[in-house]
Symmetry: C2
């Protein structure tokens, strides 16, 4: 049974995020476009849907600590639910590769954050090793409880839209969410096209949340692509930035850079005109406010004349 | 009619925020405690409830720009809804007094942000002058459309709780939200105690969102206090910090510092034991992640031995 039906005792109110119409972008793209705003989950990203399930089951199984490797969003989510459950969160991040605000979230909730001199993949390997020990549970998306929670987004979209969409678009980082969405659609008997956007330069992309060289769910996603269920679009950082700016300035939806990958992918997909599309906007812009160009501060004297002159 | 009944065409999904149980804090305080998580509004604060109404009405009246003075949250909200509506947002901030992430939000949405060499009160005076001009509408909370939207939080709390609470606690910055909540409760015929927390050092408090020397709604709040409807509690920065840490580490609710004022005030209020209380947690922790002590980074070699040694 999905979490939409029965709430965990650990709930922070994850899920039930808004589906909002993108009236200005849809005019340009020539389709009906809806944005599923997953950044309005408790810790600011879609990860909370799965994390509440994973941490609850870890605690029920007697764990005294949850462990994860993370570029930031998983860490923030694990830390919040672990704090609420009264267990320790241990987070391993690749040294120097995490957005500051996400690390602050994890620390604020009392997580033990260790920077590993290595890649994300080194950090994940260490977490797997750590979770072999008594009392430690791995809560990365290779934990199947995570995907079970994450797939609830599909039922919500169908409910809010009142019909099955023709296309669902989302980012492809580690592939956990792509797998969860494909699973949710399959279980609902919906054959919508699944369009996913990944960074051309996976190891170095500006969009830090999808800066993952070796996706943990690569094999599953490759299988879905081979079976014609998923269409993968490769995006430059310019593609991502353009879509990210359009979401904020045209629709008022400020997301983190990686979260614009669904829109960017949709723009580069053939045969979507006239369709009904849902883009899953995975994380809040406040997750990575440092990506915004601060520009030159315009400072004025406290007079109406000075203000009028400055605004032209 | 409230927005809970009819959604604006401009909606970003504001409102319908989670009410979550604070099981660990309520044990310490000896009451039933629920947190209304207003940081899960679209731009990360309660301001969105009123801003959608104010911007919609401004546009309907033919405005081509909305203007506001802001320490940050109002600016972020005005910028998002103005972008969505296709009108300009002009934001005046006191120079050097805004949390970075909030300024980034406003800029990301395309707002014109001017730093005024003066106080918040200077900025508000200039906005009032600017809004006398044709086509400019003031969207600070002195605009009554703002309070009409903001009071919808009360109906939601009553609905989610299934009964009237005995106490509602929230921060007291400019007094707009205190006025809106008092109005909402009065209209619902609910006589719950209203407990509000304000900073002892209003001009310089660590909690930047309530760093307001001259509250715009001071006279109204004073009237509510005189009438016995509102109890105001004065808080040190230590009080605020303690409550803020407790919310994050005990309940997994990471809020901005000012948003802990409701809990901090409740802790210093007599006669609340055994009651049912709702704290309005007004803004997300990601609004001001810089307030989190980063501590010393612990960097480890990519081996299990190094990780085990680091976590003790």
């Amino acid at each position: 049974m999905g979490l939409s039906a029965v709430r965990s005792w650990l709930t922070l109110g994850e899920g039930s995020t808004p589906l909002v119409r993108a009236r200005r972008l849809e005019e340009r793209l020539g389709l009906d476009l809806h944005l599923k705003c997953e950044g309005l989950n408790p810790t600011g990203s879609f990860k909370d849907r799965g994390m509440v399930v994973a941490v609850e089951r870890a605690v029920d199984s007697g764990a005294h600590a949850v462990v994860c490797a993370s570029t930031g969003n998983t860490a923030a989510s694990a830390a919040a639910y672990a704090a609420r459950a009264g267990v320790q969160a241990i987070v391993l991040t690749p040294a120097g590769a995490t957005a500051t605000a996400k690390r602050a979230q994890a620390r604020a909730a009392g997580a033990r954050v260790l920077e590993v001199r290595g890649t994300f993949d080194d950090a994940l390997r260490l977490c797997r090793e750590l979770s072999q020990r008594e009392g430690f549970v791995l809560v990365n998306s290779v934990n199947p409880d995570r995907l079970e929670g994450q797939k609830t987004v599909v039922a919500e979209i169908l409910d809010q839209l009142g019909e099955a969409p023709d296309v669902v678009a989302l980012p492809f980082g580690g592939g956990g969410n792509v797998s969860a969405v494909a699973l949710g659609l399959a279980e609902a008997g919906v054959t919508a096209r699944i369009v996913v956007g990944q960074a051309a330069e996976r190891a170095t992309t500006w969009a830090s949340a999808i800066r993952i060289s070796e996706p943990a769910h690569a094999a599953n996603v490759a299988g879905l692509v081979a079976a014609g269920r998923v269409e993968a679009v490769t995006l430059t950082d310019d593609d991502l930035r353009t879509a990210w700016v359009a979401l904020a300035t045209q629709e008022g939806v400020f997301c983190e850079p990686a979260s614009a990958a669904g829109i960017a992918a949709l723009e580069r997909t053939d045969g979507v005109r006239g369709s009904t599309a849902v883009c899953i906007v995975t994380g809040h812009g406040l997750k990575d406010a440092g990506s915004v160009d601060e520009g030159d501060a315009v400072t004025v004297e406290p007079t109406l004349e000075a203000v009028l002159e400055a605004i032209g």
